[in-house]
Structure formats: C-alpha cells, structure tokens
C-alpha cells in the first residue's frame, strides 16, 4: 500500500520535473550546433519474457551502426543515440525505466517492444510525462482498452502510439488458414486466464462462431497448470479437428504431450498456436510432436520490405543474425527493427525533432515505411493505433540446412504483398 502511493506520488513529481526540464532542455538544444536525438528503447531482455528480447541486441547494433553518422532533418544535422533498457520482464520496472529515461536521460522518444507487461507501463509513463512513445508486438486492444480508453469515445492518448496486430488480424488469418484443409469445422480452444487469453476469448471466439465454426471451449485455465486431462477428454468427446491455443511454451509442451498420450493428436488436422510457437526453440522442445504445428507471424523474413533506417531487407537482417549468432532467425528481429524505423520516421517528419509536442503532433498523420511494411496511423482502427499483419505460417521439418524446422508462410490474407512459400499440411497426415 505504502509502495503504490509512493509510486503514484513520484510519478506526479516526475511528470512535473519532466515538464520543467522540457523548457530548459529545449533552449539548451538550440544553443548547441549539433544536437543529439535520444531514443529510449525498452524491452524484456531477461526474465520469463526474455524469448522476445533475445534478438534485440543484434537489431540495436545494426541500427546504431546505420545511425552512427547521424541524420539530417529539415536541413539540420543531428547525432542519434539509442539508449536500451532491460525490463527484466517486470512491469513495475518497465515503468520505472521509462521515467528514468525521461527524467535523467532526457530522451526525445521512447520505443517499447513486446508484451503488455512491457508496453503498457512504458506507454503510461510516457503519456503522463508528455514524451512520444512508439510500441509494437501485443494485441492493440489490450494496449488501447487495457489502458483505460473507452469504445466509441475519443482517444484519451496524445503522446503514445501503437502499431501491429489485433484480434481482427488473427481472425482473418485463421479463417484463411483453416479453409486450406478440409475439416469438420469443430475448433477446440485453450485460452488461459490472462490479458491475451481473455481478450481473445471475448472477441475472437464469437467471430469464429459467426463464421460457421463450432467452438469447443472448456473455459479459462490458469497458467502453470500441470495436468489437462479434463480439457483433453472434452476435445476427444467433441471430435474437434482444429485446435487453437494461446499458452506459454512450458504449459503447451505439457498439454500437448498429455493430449498425445490420450490419442488426441491423431484426430486433429490443424494445430494453430499463438504466443507459443513464435520462436524455433518452442517447436524444437516438442521433439517429434512439433512437426506441422501451424502458427501465425507478425513478421517473417520473406516480407518484401526494406528498413529505411538500416537499408536492410528481411532476408539480409536474418542472414546477418544467423551468421553472427549461429541461431535461427526469429520474427522478433523484424518487429523490433520496424519499431525503430517508425520512431525515426516520426522524428524526421516533425518540424523540430527535439520538441516532444512537435513529434507528437505529426504522429496521428504519420505514414511510415518499415521493414514490416507501411505503418499508417491515419487508417487505424482507433486514433492512436495502426494496423499490422498476422500471417498464417507452419513449422515444417527441414530436409536441408542448419536448423530443424522451416517456418513456411501458408496464407497472406492480412498483407497480400507477402509471398506464400508453402502449402499447409495436415498435422495428423
């Protein structure tokens, strides 16, 4: 109790301090001949969410190398400094890091990447302090409504902007993906009792039913559950042929092995994973059961776009990562770089990139090219959000190459520029 009131008070104090330093910082910036643009970057590098952050170091190196010479905006040359911070997967720390970057480092814009636990507290801190914030990689509904915006009302946010997928994209990708194989249209779903799971249950499941699918939902389960016999029995009895889930990887490994013990895997034609199955290690951990798991990607190396910041294509970025680390590329590489692309575009579009209000003023009309495609804030579902794609994919055992699985694109309903690179295979084939 004491702690939370302290935090609130210090938040207000920070906001005040930020406003005060804003005017001072601005005048001193004018005095210097070459000012430096400071970009804060916050992501989960360690802790339970570290799977998302493990490629960020490489992406930051690429961006720093590309920006080392500085940029010219409106005829003025600026140096660019990227200040990266690790949330340790802790939401409280994420907010603290944002306030620290704002008050002590005087950043001009903050980039927050991956999961509600990272993005929401950072966005809240930025909104309170009046610092522009760009974020991606979480369902936008959980970002927008989860932070207090109301459906049908004007957006309460002035400084914080998010781009990327929402439930609609999942819906379109799933409908497109599931029509590729003949099934009985019975979908078994396992959505956990967390921010993502509850949002998906409330919004996606009714749309699937509307589209003619029969949804078998045993109800929310708690993350960390170690036995799923009840749910498995229900799926077997209902004869589901499609399975959709949003679990953390260890829960899914336990669940799917138990399902296979009960013979459920022989009746299921499409295993559609989200949250788990984003990264190759999740699938490798499943062993022989991992082949032909379907997934959905917010970015893929075959996206036909170039990062304006670094000049890299998706393939170049991923090949570079694999050469530098010896590990297989992940979709987070492009997602992280796209957020930096958008932040740079926002600074470039602003009349004065050192003026936070000037940057915030251009964001609602910003159309930024990125390695993930065009990010268009003028056509988003709500004022502070731009759409991003979700592309249907499948993990297929690799016949050749250094890695166990290929990540194949099987449908492209939410971004038709993305090439389809393979055919969806039935899981139980």
């Amino acid at each position: 109790m004491t702690q939370s009131s302290l935090t609130r008070r210090s938040l207000l104090a920070c906001a005040g301090a930020a406003l005060g330093s804003f005017t001072l910082g601005r005048s001193s910036a004018f005095a210097q001949s070459t000012a430096t643009l400071k970009i804060g970057f916050i992501s989960p590098i360690s802790g339970p969410l570290a799977g998302f952050g493990q490629t960020d170091g490489y992406v930051l190196t690429q961006a720093r190398d590309a920006l080392a010479a500085g940029v010219t905006i409106n005829g003025t040359g600026y140096g660019v400094e990227l200040l990266d911070r690790d949330t340790q997967s802790d939401p409280a720390r994420a907010g603290q890091l944002a306030r620290d970057l704002i008050n002590n480092d005087g950043v001009d814009v903050i980039v927050a990447v991956s999961t509600p636990e990272t993005i929401n507290p950072v966005s809240d801190a930025c909104e309170a302090a009046g610092v522009p914030c760009i974020s991606t990689v979480m369902p936008w509904e959980a970002w927008y409504f989860g932070r207090g915006a109301k459906p049908g009302e004007a957006s309460p946010f002035k400084y914080t902007y998010h781009f990327g997928f929402g439930v609609d994209e999942f819906y379109e990708a799933y409908i497109s993906q599931w029509s590729l194989i003949e099934t009985n249209k019975k979908v078994g779903v396992m959505y956990p009792n967390d921010a993502d799971g509850n949002a998906i249950r409330a919004v996606l499941a009714p749309k699937l039913i509307e589209a003619g699918y029969e949804v078998v939902d045993p109800g929310a389960y708690e993350t960390g559950t170690s036995d799923f016999s009840q749910q498995i029995a229900q799926f077997r009895a209902a004869g589901v042929e499609i399975f959709n889930t949003f679990p953390i990887p260890p829960d899914f490994a336990a669940f799917w092995r138990q399902a296979a013990q009960q013979g459920l895997h022989r009746q299921i034609k499409i295993v559609q994973l989200a949250k788990t199955g984003l990264f190759p290690a999740d699938i490798e951990a499943l062993g022989g059961l991992g082949d032909n798991m379907a997934s959905a990607a917010y970015w893929h190396r075959d996206f036909p776009y170039v990062s304006p910041t670094t000049g890299l294509t998706g393939a170049q970025l991923c090949d570079g990562y694999e050469a530098a680390t010896g590990k297989q590329w992940t979709q987070q590489l492009g997602a992280t770089l796209s957020a930096i692309d958008v932040a740079m575009a926002a600074l470039a579009a602003a009349g004065d990139p050192k003026d936070r209000d000037s940057v915030a003023a251009v964001l609602p009309t910003l159309k930024a090219d990125s390695i993930g495609g065009l990010v268009d804030f003028t056509s988003g579902p709500v004022k502070n959000v731009a759409h991003g794609p979700i592309i249907g994919t499948q993990w297929q055992v690799a016949e050749t190459g250094d890695f166990d699985f290929n990540y194949v694109i099987t449908e492209n309903a939410t971004d038709t520029n993305v090439p389809i690179t393979g055919e969806l295979r039935a899981y139980n084939a």
Binding site: A233, R257, G288
Partner: protein, 295 residues
C-alpha cells in the same frame, strides 16, 4: 471418474518426485531450501547438455547426480552450515538469494530458450498404454510414479538400515550429542544435503520429459514441492507421496469443477493443511506424529 482418479495418482507421482528432496532436506537439516526449484532447473540443464552430446539419459542422470551430490556437499560447507548456525530465518534468506543467483546465472549461460528432454527419448514422452474402457495411461507418467516410489523406498531404507542413515538421524535430532558420540556431524549433514540435491536430478528428468523449462521455471516447481511437503507433513518420507497424491487429487477435483480450479484446488488443500497444523507449528516444529494426514 476412473480416468480422474488414475490421472491424479499419476500426477501425484510427479509431485512426489519434485518434493522428495525438499522434504528430505527439511526433515534432516530443518532447512527449507528455497533454492530447491532453481537447483532442479540447474540439473535439467546438465541433463540437456549431456543429451546434446549424445550421452544416453540414464547415464546423464548418473553423471549429473554425482555432480549434484558434490555440489550439495559444497553448498552445505560454504553456505548452509554457516547460515543455519544463525537461526531459522538465515537459511531461508540464504537459499532465496541462491535461487536468484542460479536463475540469473542459467539465463546468462543458456539464454531464454525453452528446452525439453523429450526429444532425447523419442516417442516415450507421449506414448501410452490403452486400458479397457477407452482409458489411456501415459507411459512416462507411470514410470515417473514408479521412480518416485523407488526413490522414497530407497531413502527410507538408507535412513533405517544403514549406519549412514542412523548418523543422519542422530545429527538431525541432536547435533551436540551426536558429535559427543563421535559422529562427524558436519560431514554427515553435508552428505545429507548431497543426497537431497541428487534426488533433484530425478525431478529434473521428470520435469524435462513431461514438459519444458526455461531459466526462470524454478519458482513454479518450488511452489508445488512446498505444497506437497506442507500437506504431507514431516517425518517419514512416505508422507511426501501422500501429500503429493492429496495435492494432485485436490487439483483434479478443482479442474473437474471448473478449468480454472486446477491450481486453486491445490492451494485450498494446502491452506487447509496449514490451518490444520497451526497449533503444532507453534510447538517449534515438533515432529507431527500423532495426527493423520489432513485434507
């Protein structure tokens, strides 16, 4: 119904194997080892590393077991013996700190990837026996249950019938008197710690085969193990098996009522056990002998 009971018993076997090291450490040394979960994850990485070098799993278990035994002895000498001389709270803090240290060390070395031992054993992780009445019994779950029973029986036998076991019992009951009788109590306690950590290797194998883990997975394992030990109570190690079964049955009943009830069912059983034991807890951790198992 048959399926529910069968599954609970098999799940109980897994919890028993998770908890036996924690219970052994507590009953012998009076130390609640909060690093128990982290040490299991540590051992799991050892098994995974050897598995990647094509060492068969049974051999890996033996090798990592030996390593953990040595580590346990070292741990006792370096940390636990000092901490436990400073009162009941100090070992708690020390092992809590140790668990944070291990978690982050593992993260630094192995990164954030989820890993599993299942690929090492082919189809065993999901193979099953089919019983009449369309009931499937996971082979792996059955082997884990058997392993738990064998481990507990072996530890009980060591404690009752060997000189080492009697030394350990004497040391745990009254260290001063035991040393008067010529027992090297420091060495005995170190060996007991080593044994406790060695059982963690079996827990690591069970965890790795039935699920997956990442560097920070230790806390969840510790929670289940802790609940088992509290529900079962201290004394004979067979109480661990009983505690594990009670936890598993409570969770399964919870899940049968509502899918979200799985963990809550277990927590309720745990709370009931805590309230049931409150007066006895006040009596300064006296062995709980008279009353039967609660919940």
């Amino acid at each position: 119904m048959t399926g529910l009971i069968l599954n609970s018993v098999l799940l109980g076997g897994y919890y028993a194997i998770l908890a036996v090291g924690l219970a052994f450490m507590y009953s012998v040394m009076k130390i609640i080892n909060l690093a128990h979960g982290a040490l299991i994850i540590f051992a799991a990485y050892g098994l995974h590393l050897l598995g990647a070098m094509d060492v068969p799993l049974y051999l890996s278990i033996a090798l990592v077991g030996a390593l953990m035994f040595g580590l346990g002895m070292g741990l006792h000498a370096a940390i636990l013996s000092r901490a436990s001389s400073g009162g009941a709270l100090l070992p708690l803090l020390a092992t809590f700190g140790l668990s944070i240290l291990i978690d982050n060390l593992l993260f630094q070395v192995f990164g954030a990837d989820n890993r599993s031992l299942a690929p090492l054993v082919g189809d065993l992780s999901w193979a099953s026996f089919e019983l009449p009445g369309n009931v499937f019994v996971g082979q792996l779950s059955l082997y884990i249950l058997l392993a738990a029973i064998v481990i507990i029986a072996a530890l009980e036998a060591v404690m009752r019938f060997t000189t080492l076991g009697r030394r350990i019992q004497a040391t745990s009951q009254d260290r001063a008197t035991a040393s008067l009788l010529g027992i090297n109590t420091a060495r005995t306690a170190a060996i007991a710690t080593g044994i406790a950590l060695t059982t963690g290797v079996f827990a690591a194998a069970a965890l790795g085969l039935r699920s997956a883990w990442a560097p920070y997975s230790g806390a969840a394992q510790l929670l289940f193990a802790f609940e088992v030990v509290v529900i079962g109570g201290v004394g004979s190690l067979w109480r661990v098996l009983v505690g594990a079964m009670v936890l598993a049955i409570a969770q399964s009943i919870g899940a049968a009522i509502h899918p979200q009830g799985f963990l809550i069912g277990g927590h309720l059983a745990f709370l009931m056990a805590v309230f049931f034991r409150l007066p006895t807890w006040r009596a300064a951790f006296a062995p709980i002998a008279r009353k039967g198992v609660s919940a």
